[in-house]
Symmetry: C2
Subunit: 418 residues, 2 copies
């Protein structure tokens, strides 16, 4: 008898019919003999509707009250899903984040889970019920309602799985799993059967949207096995877990891309110690997330500094840059919003030195110019022109043989490093 946590997002519970379908899936797991916990999001557009109500009242509502408002979205879903299970003749109980023992810090609208007090969930499971938990929300130790921010329901599901010692945390979504590339860009992209936390973290951080980064970090830190799968069929999806010998030993697991960032360049900054610290200190003070950084030292004793940042942070970033350019006596600065980042992710990279060379050569042959490059032990990312992102993804997917199911380290005809 396994203990299974199943997480369903807003589109999976967006109508009475879909709620009934989710109820049937939970019951099927129960009928297989499992102990079953569901973690659910607000239905469909409910969160957007609540945000619109808040905006009709206030341009800048207090974050505590936003949490009070938004937490109702998931509470509606859990009640209706419990009713759906009841009409099908099974016993369920809905629990708010507070009731489920999801203890968070007090950072409203982006709280972090601190602890799961699982006793009430455990009691309900022991009494044979299917337990329905509201995702995305928690309660502080002072009794304040919080929300967890973007991707919060995934994180709730993983945290609940960790708190209950669940065998698996199934994340139901509208795709069949994690793919070697975005199937909308590369039609021959194939589903990955199993992937390590490290690789999944890199893929989530560089554009794979199927799992939120925070939930993967949480899963890695607590050893929770994630199963990403479709809510529309019964096929096996992608298992995310600690790397082991059962995993396919691909050098490259996937190609990701991201068009949500912009590039900012500051030119002719005096090249003296502490200049970079000054620039990025100001950006940090302005709460700007910085991704890639490049500094080119010129001959004339000045330097150019470029960095990428989410477009969402661009207003704050340009304000900070304008100030620092003036203070430093730099010549000028510019913003390029027409960039994309394409990344190769694969644990095999560590032991196969030719990956970068093949990546750069393939992109060059396809006429794709590289603007910036950054690497980690298991990832290489290149900034390119936004209008070349599709050709870059397809080129790399082909160059590394990702469309073939038999791409295995050392034996692949397309394996790099030779």
């Amino acid at each position: 008898m396994a203990l299974v946590v199943q997480k369903y997002g807003g589109s999976s519970v967006g109508s009475p019919d879909r709620l009934m379908a989710v109820a049937r899936r939970l019951i099927a797991a129960k009928e297989r003999g499992d102990r079953v916990v569901a973690v659910v999001s607000a239905m469909g557009d409910v969160t957007d509707e609540l945000l619109a109500k808040a905006r009709a009242i206030s341009a800048d509502p207090p974050e505590r009250e936003m949490d009070m408002l938004l937490a109702t979205g998931e509470q509606v879903t859990i009640a209706l899903l419990a009713m759906a299970i009841d009409t099908l003749g099974y016993q369920a109980i809905s629990l708010t984040g507070a009731q489920a023992g999801i203890v968070s810090d007090a950072v409203h609208t982006k709280a972090r889970i601190q602890e799961i007090r699982a006793s009430r969930m455990m009691e309900a499971l022991d009494s044979g019920r299917i337990v329905i938990v509201a995702g995305f929300q928690g309660l502080t130790s002072d009794g304040e309602i919080t929300t967890l921010g973007r991707g919060g329901s995934d994180t709730t599901a993983v945290a609940v799985a960790a708190g209950l010692g669940a065998d698996v945390c199934e994340i139901y979504t509208d795709v069949d799993g994690v793919f070697t590339a975005d199937p909308r860009v590369e039609s021959s992209a194939r589903k990955i059967d199993a992937i390590s936390y490290e690789e999944m973290l890199e893929m989530a951080a560089t554009g794979a949207r199927v799992l939120q980064l925070r939930s993967v970090e949480f899963a890695r830190n607590h050893g929770v096995v994630i199963h990403v799968r479709s809510s529309f069929n019964d096929r096996e999806g992608t298992i995310v877990k600690e790397a082991d010998e059962t995993m396919e030993q691909a050098i490259i697991s996937g190609v990701t891309h991201d068009t949500s960032e912009a590039k900012v360049t500051v030119r002719d900054v005096p090249d003296r110690p502490g200049v970079a610290a000054e620039v990025f200190g100001r950006l940090a003070d302005a709460n700007v997330n910085v991704d890639m950084i490049i500094q080119n030292v010129s001959e004339a004793g000045t330097t150019d500094i470029s960095f990428t940042t989410p477009k969402d942070d661009l207003v704050r970033a340009t304000k900070a840059v304008r100030e620092v350019v003036e203070d430093l006596g730099a010549r000028e600065w510019s913003v390029d919003e027409s960039i994309a980042k394409v990344s190769l992710v694969g644990a095999g990279m560590k032991t196969h030195p030719g990956v970068a060379a093949l990546m750069f050569r393939s992109l060059a042959d396809a006429g794709v110019n590289l603007d910036m490059i950054s690497t980690s032990a298991i990832r290489i990312s290149c900034v390119i022109a936004a209008d070349q992102v599709d050709i870059a993804v397809r080129t790399l997917h082909k160059a590394f043989g990702l469309e073939e199911r038999s791409v295995v380290a050392e034996t692949s005809p397309a394996a790099p490093g030779r």
Copy 2:
């Protein structure tokens, strides 16, 4: 510095504009130097929309889950009202029933408040905030969310006022106060400035819809002064409190009417001891509320029993009656849904014996036939034909001089008992 609880119903908070108007009214009270607590209902049709969502899933949803669902309605209102106050530059804090310390029993969908743990509300008031409490909901000692049933927000407001030792509990509504008759029926009906708990209880029980019976009972039991007033103007409304010498000494305070009941008659029941106990025991077992009862003993050793019951209970009532008729060997039974009840309420009745005589004479002169009569120390109710209810109300309002402001005991030209 007074402590004031203000309660606003669904129509008063039904749109962003109305929420802002409520916020301004709360701020005005705060600016006058008062400590201010608001108790609010779900906005406009929100509760009906939630009920529709539940019905789309289940014909008979578990009551615990209904409470989980419905409690979100008020939670949305409190968050938005706190945002509205914030945008106007004042400090507010919203509290769910659980956070406000509204402890109830565990009878889902019609829970009763057991205790108010007021410390968190007090702390928020002490810090200078306007406190916004979700009406209609509570938390059991086991941490289960409950709702209080019909009129629950009025009861929450009175209970919060009692728990905080508030100086007054203001119930804001869409009329100017409690009237001597329903102004839609009798245009000369006048607002009552002050009325005793006992009279208000009788009026609420016999058709005055402005205050829910339970909230008046709670107010009487805890000595909470209620001020019923309009949310659309600043006029003084009706004060409900313990009878005292400052109150207008009217013999009759008002005429009420009620068309929500039906009459059930069982004919030719064997007239032996215990028959009435058998009939009404069955009805009680079937959870049927019985209002008025009349038993006519016939000459032939049989008896007719008639009673009135809310039309909402009629399906259960007829089922119980059908069974008991068979068991007792009664001849037949019938249901009349075309009845109305018209009542006179007044504390002065106790000391003025002519009230009943004038009531019956006035109705007879107006051609209104009386079907059933019941009385309490301060009320006389008559069942009449439904299509005569308007003429009956107008006749009694005029006969007891209620349209005149100067109707005072002993001196009124229309006073009965002479």
